[in-house]
């Protein structure tokens, strides 16, 4: 079994994956996506399964589509990536599957933004880009003045994507949220991310501690995984008054801060899943 690990810069996560693969006796071939020629006539396939670990969503997307059309098995698949890289599409897929999540809407004009927020009972709300992570460019909007300022800035930036306003209900949370690591539909580990700031990403200073895997967590994550197509996922959840709800799903997750508090080798679980996915196919 040889895993083709497709990376851009090698982060702590890629180092952990390489180490775990070595410990499991699995050969890993490293491919720096930035240095590749994605020429279907000359590209040599020297591995059994590809693991996409690009930091850049765009480069990862092109790579996965390329490999799949060469009949190479890739984790995660382009079907999963297409859904998870777009927060609006993810929310719609979860809605279709009946998974609990914050109320959301996509609007394209200021007046529609005001209407939808008023119909939800007012502020605060959250506005976020449909693509992106690490909590970047996510805004908590506390009143109509702030809404007008944010929209004015977005419209001035000019790109078509900035003119699509993805709005989400703001969920009051107990100073923390949950990140669950879900592989093949099963929660293998979860952390609380504590922060006094409303953005709790560990990349933004949130502190990680172990979160017990309850039945409720397992069930909502399993349903969400099924909805987006399975694979290797990280799910962000809120503990709301109505119960757990899914906030976001990531398809190329970071986990450097989560192995130690959970005591779970997430990297080994990923490598094992790569092996199992091939055994199931063959």
């Amino acid at each position: 079994m040889r895993i083709g690990l497709f990376h851009s810069t090698i982060r702590a996560e890629e180092k952990l994956l390489i180490k775990s693969a070595n410990e499991l006796g699995v050969e890993v071939k490293l491919y720096d996506i930035r240095k590749l020629n994605l020429d279907p006539e000359s590209f040599k396939i020297d591995f059994d399964v590809a693991l996409e670990r690009s930091v850049s969503t765009t480069k990862g997307r092109h790579l996965v589509r390329f490999l799949e059309r060469l009949n190479v098995p890739v984790l995660n698949s382009s079907d999963v990536a297409n859904i998870c890289e777009d927060k609006f599409l993810t929310a719609m897929v979860l809605h279709q599957a009946g998974v609990r999540q914050p109320r959301f809407a996509m609007v394209f004009e200021e007046q529609q933004a005001k209407e939808v927020i008023n119909s939800w009972g007012g502020y605060p709300v959250v506005m976020k880009p449909t693509i992106g992570s690490w909590g970047r460019l996510i805004s908590k909007i506390n009143d109509e003045d702030a809404l007008e300022a944010i929209l004015d800035h977005k419209l001035t930036l000019g790109s078509p994507e900035q003119k699509a306003f993805f709005i989400q209900e703001f969920i009051e949370k107990p100073g923390r949220d949950i990140r669950a690591f879900v592989i093949g539909g099963r929660v293998i580990a979860a952390i609380y991310r504590d922060s006094s700031h409303w953005i709790t990403n560990t990349a933004r200073g949130g502190q990680a501690s172990n979160c017990p895997i309850t039945d409720e967590l397992q069930v909502i994550c399993q349903r969400s995984s099924q909805a987006v197509g399975g694979g290797i996922l990280a799910m962000d959840l809120f503990e709301s008054a109505q119960g757990l709800m899914i906030n976001e799903i990531n398809h190329t997750m970071e986990f450097r801060n989560s192995e130690q508090p959970t005591g779970v080798s997430i990297s080994s679980e990923i490598i094992n899943y790569c092996i199992e996915s091939q055994n199931v196919k063959n």
């Binding site: 851009s8 810069t9 720096d32 850049s56 969503t57 992106g132 970047r136 990531n250």
Partner: protein, 58 residues
């Protein structure tokens, strides 16, 4: 081959740990610049890591 290098930003001496691979990210202890290990003609060298792009995510 020496595994001691110089930070391209602050000239601090940096020793690459054993097992360092090309494309790995290293942080300079002195100036905290994020550096990328790249393959040079005479072995590994260090360069400033690429800036975060709009579509970078986890």
């Amino acid at each position: 081959m020496s595994n001691t290098h110089t930070c391209p930003t602050c000239d601090e001496e940096i020793t690459l740990p054993e097992g360092t691979v090309v494309a790995e990210l290293i942080t300079c202890d002195e100036c905290e610049t994020m550096l990328e290990v790249v393959a040079g003609t005479d072995g590994l060298t260090l360069t400033e890591a690429p800036e975060i792009e709009e579509d970078w995510g986890e």
